[in-house]
Amino acid sequence: MTLSTSASAVSRASARGRRKPRPLATWRFPFAIPGFVFYGGLVLVPLVLSFFYSFTDRSLLRPDASFVGFDNYLRLLSDPSFLGTFGFTSVLTVVNLVLVNAVGLMVAVLLDKVGRVFFAVRMAFFVPVALSGVIVAFIWSRILTDNGVLNSTLRALGLGDLAQSWLGTSFTAQASVVVVTAWQALGLCIVVYLAGLQTVPRELLDSARIDGCGPVGSFANVTWPLLAPSLTINATLLLINGFKTYDIPVVMTGTGPGGATSTVATEVIRVGFSLNRVGLASAMAIIMLAVVAFITVVIVGLLQRREVSN
């Protein structure tokens, strides 16, 4: 009770502090023109072209193309190999979402302390955030390859039976791609949760304690609801970035074995640039964009409603 009144007092105070800009603002429109010219010319125009190409049999090799209606989309939806790619991309995205959020939250709570040790430890988690997917994939490929670090360590520990061709069989290669993308995404998730934890007012936690909450109770009743905006950010970032996964499968597994670790993004590039089938690749790209946009709108909508209800 005390908690909810003080929380709404905080939000009332911040609402009073905010003021509406005046209508005088319209003459600022010229400021937006240069940015929109760039964005329009090199992002919106290609996007519209991509949409347009997806209904044609356009190829990079010949200039003429004819309109084929929904053929490309129908072909993709009945192509087992594209459905497999789409399925793997979805599983990778969902596992990343759950795994990274759960581990990220636990690590953030663990590290939410001052002191030199905790500062240094946080830095270790941040390093992969600033590394290229190419570098991350290279490092992990040295670990997971047949004569790599993982197998040689297993043999040295007398667990040689567990040693296997991690990147050579479909399931373990797929699991490897999921683990490596999660490893790289973890740092950003931790940063977002740590930033969210800084916004939890000490007074609320103190009054929760006075009301008889233990550490678990105060986390569930005070901290977790106040982390709602952090969860929204992490869920959105992980879903979008998961569905866009490109660098790690291309560099670590070459999307193999047999295309088992290909994602929608790697297929767009392979079909478009290597097979020169621009029309078909554009249809894949539009499907990818539709899924990402749908996920974003639905998830942000759901999670923001949760934020408001808090």
Binding site: R19, K20, P21, P23, W27, P30, F31, A32, P34, G35, F38, Y39, L42, P46, L49, L60, K113, V114, G115, V117, V121, M123, A124, V127, P128, A130, L131, S132, V134, I135, F138, I139, R142, N147, V149, S152, T153, W183, V192, G196, T199, R202, L205, D206, R209, P215, P229, T232, I233, Y246, V251, A265, I269, G272, F273, I286, M288, V292, A293, T296
Partner: protein, 281 residues
């Protein structure tokens, strides 16, 4: 005894130990990436997890001075691409953000929705038509083409970060400048821009890291030859030196160092950028 009152005060010894163990497990790949830079190829294959003994700088020297090494040329290419891309994104993102932060009408809301689309757009969706457009206007294979695309692609992100900050700048400051006779551009440059400095650092760190680490766009737009960046260079070297792991580890370290230094120099702005997102949704 731990309770909520001790939060953010001195951590217990158990927490320190757990934090160290968890981060040590997490950091194993980073440890492997670092120690193998200073080993011979035989050592890398025999004892990939051991400390380097004997310690050698040969791999770093090979990357820095080797006749077949393209490291310095690629580093130059990366800088030629990243610096103008960042500068352009900052200029165009801040002006668009200034507009979005102050405008309220239906038109502004529509433009905002159109920009929002750009935030979630995977660039693989754009690359095929983009390379056709760039070929048509003669910019395929040129730094300029890649730089212009980078700016266009990251303007939405920068604009939203700036807009969020512009909303917190008191409007009275601008009104006062207008009363003193300052025109809009002068008000923006002299009143608003100086206040945007911390936000600019936040934008630069995100955009800088993204563009430095990008390998698909440079590969498609510039091609694999003389135009390779440090990141595409690593990708190409994985095929080229596929058994010379020492050189590869040295190359990844040298390619990562500049961006890691930049990232950690500005890391408080990185956290602040995320924090403003975390508190304001």
């Amino acid at each position: 005894m731990t309770n909520v009152l001790t939060r953010r005060r001195r951590p217990g010894i158990a927490r320190v130990v757990i934090a160290l163990v968890v981060s040590a497990i997490f950091a194993i790949p980073l440890y492997i990436a670092l120690v193998n830079v200073f080993k011979t190829n035989d050592q890398i294959l025999l004892a990939p997890t051991a400390l380097p003994a004997p310690f050698t700088l040969d791999n770093l020297i090979a990357v820095a001075t080797g006749p077949r090494s393209h490291f310095w040329r690629n580093l130059g290419n990366s800088l030629i691409i990243v610096l103008p891309s960042m500068a352009g994104t900052v200029v165009l993102g801040s002006t668009v953000g200034y507009y979005l932060g102050r405008a309220t009408g239906a038109g502004a809301r529509l433009l905002q929705a159109i920009l929002l689309l750009g935030l979630m757009l995977p660039f693989q969706v754009l690359l095929l038509p983009l390379s056709i457009i760039l070929r048509t206007i003669g910019l395929q294979g040129s730094y300029v083409g890649l730089i212009l695309f980078n700016i266009a692609f990251y303007v939405p992100f920068a604009a939203f970060v700036y807009a969020r900050f512009v909303k917190t700048v008191p409007f009275e400051l601008e009104e006062a400048a207008a009363l003193d006779g300052a025109r809009p551009l002068r008000t923006f440059v002299q009143i608003v821009v100086p206040l945007l400095r911390p936000t600019t650092a936040s934008v630069m760190i995100f955009v800088g890291v993204w563009i430095w680490n990008d390998f698909l766009n440079p590969l498609v737009i510039l091609g694999p030859g003389d135009g390779a960046t440090v990141t595409t260079g690593i990708y190409l070297a994985i095929g080229q030196y596929n058994t010379d792991f020492g050189t590869m580890f040295a190359l990844t370290l040298l390619a990562a160092l500049p961006i890691l230094a930049f990232f950690f120099a500005l890391q408080d702005r990185f956290v602040a950028g995320l924090a403003s997102g975390a508190t304001k949704g």
